[in-house]
C-alpha cells in the first residue's frame, strides 16, 4: 500500500564489482517545451555528453510530483536531474516556479533524511540552449561519479 517495500538482500561480491567501474544511472525529467527541445538540439547539433542520463519527457516541470523523484531514488537511480524552462518562460506561465518551490522543500527533506542532496538537481535550459543542457548533464554525471553508487540500489 505505501512506499516502504521490503528490502531484499544482494550479494556483496557484485556490489564491489560495481563500485570499480562505476557508471551512474541518472533519471532526468525534462519539460516538453524547453529542456526536451534543448536536449534534442544538443543531439542534432552532435554535442558530446556522457550517455548516463535517461530522459523522461513531461509536459511541464510543474507536473513532477516529488514522489516521482523519491521513487526513482528508492528504486536505485544514482541521481535525478530535473530540467525546465527559465523562470518567467514557462509555457504554462508558472509550472516551473511551482517546481522550484517543491524542489527546495524536497532538497531539505532529503538532506534531513541523511541522503546526499547533491543527487537531486534542478536546472533551467531553454529550447535554444543545447549547450547548457549538455553542460548540466556533464556536471551532473561528474558529481554523481564522485559520490559513488546510490546506496539504495539493488543488484541488476
Amino acid at each position: 500500500m505505501t512506499a516502504m517495500a521490503d528490502t531484499s538482500s544482494s550479494s556483496t561480491k557484485a556490489k564491489k564489482k560495481r563500485k570499480k567501474g562505476f557508471e551512474p544511472r541518472i533519471v532526468s525529467f525534462c519539460c516538453n517545451w524547453c529542456s526536451y527541445a534543448g536536449a534534442d538540439l544538443a543531439g542534432t547539433s552532435r554535442m558530446q555528453m556522457p550517455p548516463n542520463v535517461r530522459i523522461i519527457r513531461v509536459n511541464c516541470t510543474g507536473r513532477i510530483d516529488p514522489s516521482f523523484v523519491l521513487d526513482a531514488l528508492a528504486q536505485g537511480a544514482d541521481g535525478v536531474l530535473i530540467s525546465g524552462c527559465h523562470p518567467g518562460d514557462c509555457h504554462y506561465t508558472s509550472g516551473n516556479l511551482k517546481m522550484r518551490g517543491r524542489f527546495v522543500l524536497l532538497e531539505s527533506l532529503v538532506e534531513q533524511a541523511g541522503f546526499d542532496p547533491r543527487r537531486v538537481h534542478l536546472q533551467w535550459a531553454s529550447a535554444a540552449e543545447g549547450d547548457v543542457f549538455r553542460d548540466g548533464v556533464t556536471a551532473m554525471v561528474e558529481r554523481i561519479k564522485e559520490l559513488g553508487p546510490n546506496p539504495a540500489r539493488e543488484e541488476d
Partner: protein, 304 residues
C-alpha cells in the same frame, strides 16, 4: 454465532484501546456478538495463552502498534498464524507510527541517547538481561506480514472502529475513502495565496476561515478523511496523523507537492518556513515513506 476476537498490542501508546473503550454503552451493542480470546490491555491474558490457541482459530485479529523489538515481531507473527482476518488497527500498525520518526537515526544512536545521555538518567546503563532486543528499523506491519484490512488513525475514532467491527460482523463491505479531511471540514475555503507560514501560537486564528488559507500548516488536504475533521473544527491545524488517502504512496511528497503550488514565497523563505520537514510532513508515517526505505537499504549495505 459469536466471533472470536483478539487484540494484540505491540509498541504503541495503547490509545487505540482507549478510543475503543470510549464507545461506552454502544459497546453493549457489539459485545454480545464477540468472544474475546486475547486482549492484554483489558483482560489478563498472557502470550502463552495466545500461543496455545489452534491456528486460524481467531476470526478477527486486531493488531495495534508497530514492531520495535523482537518480541513485537514474534507477537505479530503469532497473531498472523492464529487469525483468519488480520486488521492493522491504528497508524502505528498501518504506517509505523510516531516511533517511525526514529528511523532517521541508527538504533545504536537512539539507544545511547535514551539510556545513557538523557538528562534525567542518573545510573546510565543499557538494560540487556531478559530483554527481547531491538529491531534496527521500524517498518509498517504490512511489510512484515500480510494483512486483510487496514484502519489508520492516531487513534482511529470510536466510530471508525465501531464501523469496522460492525462491517465485519454483518459482512458489509468496508473500504477506506479517497476523500480528505478538507472534504469533512466546515471551514470556508478561498483561493490559496500563502505569503507567510505561521506557527500555531502566532497571530490570531479566524475560526470561520480555512486554516491553510490563513498561513497555518494544516495537512487536511493530504490526509484521509476518516476523523470528521476533529482538529480543524476546533481551530487546530491537522497534523496528518491518519496518513494519506489510499492512492497516495508517500504522504510527505504529496504535501510538498501541494505546498509548492499554493505558497507564493521565494524558495529561501519557503525553506526557512520548514526547518524540520520530516517532523512536519510525516508525523505518523515516516516509516512508510520512500526515504525511510532508502535509509533501510543504506544501513543494510553498510553492515555487509
Amino acid at each position: 454465532m459469536t466471533k472470536r476476537v483478539a487484540f494484540a498490542q505491540l509498541t504503541s501508546c495503547w490509545g487505540c484501546d482507549q478510543s475503543l473503550v470510549d464507545l461506552h454503552f454502544r459497546l453493549l451493542d457489539v459485545l454480545p456478538e464477540l468472544e474475546i480470546v486475547y486482549w492484554p490491555a483489558v483482560v489478563d491474558y498472557k502470550l502463552k495463552d495466545l500461543e496455545a490457541l489452534p491456528d486460524d482459530s481467531i476470526h478477527l485479529g486486531f493488531v495495534e502498534g508497530s514492531c520495535r523489538t523482537n518480541e513485537d515481531l514474534h507477537l505479530l507473527k503469532t497473531m498472523r498464524k492464529k487469525s483468519k482476518l488480520l486488521i492493522a488497527w491504528g497508524s502505528c500498525s498501518c504506517y509505523g507510527g510516531v516511533q517511525g520518526l526514529g528511523n532517521q537515526w541508527p538504533i545504536e544512536e537512539l539507544v545511547e541517547r535514551k539510556f545513557l545521555q538523557a538528562d534525567s538518567v542518573t545510573d546510565p546503563r543499557i538494560p540487556e538481561s531478559n530483554m527481547p532486543g531491538f529491531l534496527g528499523i521500524v517498518k509498517p506491519n504490512p511489510a512484515h506480514v500480510k494483512f486483510e484490512m487496514v484502519l489508520p488513525g492516531c487513534p482511529p475514532t470510536s466510530d471508525n472502529t465501531y464501523d469496522v467491527v460492525e462491517a465485519l460482523l454483518t459482512g458489509k463491505p468496508f473500504d477506506l475513502p479517497e476523500r480528505t479531511v478538507c472534504d469533512e471540514c466546515p471551514k470556508e475555503r478561498e483561493d490559496k495565496h500563502i505569503v507567510k507560514f505561521y506557527r500555531t501560537h502566532e497571530g490570531k486564528i479566524d475560526p470561520n476561515k480555512c486554516l491553510l488559507d490563513q498561513g497555518y500548516l494544516c495537512l487536511g488536504f493530504a490526509t484521509i478523511g476518516l476523523c470528521g475533521a476533529q482538529c480543524p473544527t476546533v481551530n487546530t491545524p491537522c497534523k496528518g496523523c491518519f496518513g494519506p488517502p489510499p492512492s497516495v504512496k508517500d504522504h510527505g511528497a504529496k504535501i510538498i507537492s501541494a505546498l509548492g503550488a499554493v505558497a507564493e514565497m521565494s524558495p529561501e523563505e519557503l525553506k526557512e518556513a520548514f526547518p524540520d520537514p520530516i517532523g512536519s510532513f510525516y508525523f505518523t508515517d515516516y516509516a512508510a515513506s520512500y526515504l525511510s526505505s532508502i535509509t533501510a537499504k543504506k544501513r543494510k549495505e553498510k553492515e555487509e
